[in-house]
């Protein structure tokens, strides 16, 4: 039986890679490998997962240097010979081993005004939004985001600029900017403008390249750049 040489990050900010030998199976995901290690070799290994079927995004980790959902990553696809390296998501503080602290990711979501702000009451009629209107199409392209953090972990601007809101937060803001029912457009555009916002994006496209749901935050951020510029031109920023 082939044995995988799996190099796993142990520790927190300070730590190192420890190598484990895991039996290689024909159809095996990286999450299967991590689970095998924790159950059969080293029960002290900490990691996150939930659904195991590619719906929740909890199992996101860095596999051979690239942020991925480990439950949807086949070992056969990423192994270099028989070697895999597994680490926690980049750009986030490490809690322990493969667990990253997602607090700043969600804080930035809030800072980008990623919350819907209603402006109708129960007495008003339902909003009528045509699903093929340009705004709705633009919003729909981004609303499937489940906040897994892969884009944030893949973004170099996040590494280079501690305040940068990041692709997920900006993508969410864009979906709301395009939502005709939302009442906080002006505040939101102000929140996403500036050095920590959309203008810091340099179109590396790493986020769009890595998003497991094929969302393209780069497109959303480009839209925000245009919307913010127009608002500034009109003196509304």
């Amino acid at each position: 039986m082939d044995m995988l040489k799996v190099s796993v990050w142990r520790g927190a900010a300070l730590g190192g890679y420890r190598t484990y030998e895991v039996p290689r199976q024909e159809s095996q995901s990286v999450l299967d490998v991590v689970t095998y290690i924790q159950r059969n070799i080293d029960p002290t290994l900490s990691y996150r997962f939930a659904c195991r079927v590619g719906m929740c995004g909890a199992c996101a980790m860095t596999v051979n240097g690239v942020a991925r959902w480990t439950c949807r990553t086949h070992v056969a696809k990423v192994a270099k010979g028989n070697a895999i390296q597994i680490a926690p998501l980049a750009n986030l503080p490490v809690v322990k081993d493969l667990v990253a602290d997602m607090s700043e990711f969600f804080d930035k979501w809030a800072r980008a005004r990623g919350q819907f702000v209603p402006c109708a009451t129960r007495k008003d009629a339902f909003a009528q939004v045509a699903s093929d209107s340009p705004g709705r199409v633009a919003a729909n392209a981004g609303i499937e985001c489940i906040g897994c953090g892969v884009c944030y972990a893949s973004c170099d601007v996040v590494s280079w600029n501690a305040d940068y809101l990041g692709p997920a937060a900006l993508n969410r803001a864009w979906t709301l900017v395009n939502d005709v029912r939302d009442g906080a457009r002006r505040e939101r555009l102000a929140a996403v403008a500036g050095d920590a916002g959309c203008h810091a994006c340099h179109t590396h496209l790493s986020c769009s390249e890595r998003c497991p749901k094929d969302i393209e935050p780069t497109a959303a951020i480009a839209g925000l750049k245009r919307a913010v510029a127009l608002a500034a031109w009109k003196g509304e920023l």
């Binding site: 600029n161 505040e187 102000a190 403008a193 500036g194 920590a196 916002g197 340099h202 500034a232």
Partner: protein, 130 residues
């Protein structure tokens, strides 16, 4: 509605991003100058290739640029666009790769813009009046 866990304090909702207005205008200036430069650079590349074929001596170059008012006007516009475009780009590079984010960076950027504009105008005038 579930309440947040103990010990977690939600951050205050955003104030306008740091330098929201100024960064937005810098972005607009950068893209506008880029569009202008696209035209200028295409013209410049064509003239470079023409010049290489038709003589690169001082005499040959000056014969083409001396008294050429259209040329001077073109290069003045070109230099203006460069003086806007290059410093803004370099500013971003300094912020991200050198970690230089203090106010002194903005002074450096402005100084660079002035220097490029001044030396560029001087060069344009030099070959016009040469």
């Amino acid at each position: 509605m579930s309440s947040t866990g103990q010990g977690y304090a939600a951050p205050p909702l955003a104030a306008p991003g740091a330098g929201a207005k100024s960064e937005t205008w810098l972005w607009i200036a950068q893209r506008a100058s880029a569009a202008l430069l696209a035209l200028c650079v295409v013209v410049h590349l064509i003239t470079i290739i023409y010049a290489v074929r038709h003589g690169l001596s001082g005499e040959a170059i000056l014969a083409r640029t001396r008294g050429n008012a259209v040329g001077l006007a073109f290069y003045t516009l070109y230099v203006l666009a460069i003086a806007v475009h290059a410093p803004i780009g370099l500013r971003t590079l300094c912020q991200e790769w050198l970690g230089w984010r203090s106010a002194s960076l903005n002074w450096f950027t402005a100084a660079l813009a002035l220097a490029l504009f001044a030396f560029g105008l001087r060069a344009g005038w030099a070959v016009f009046s040469g």
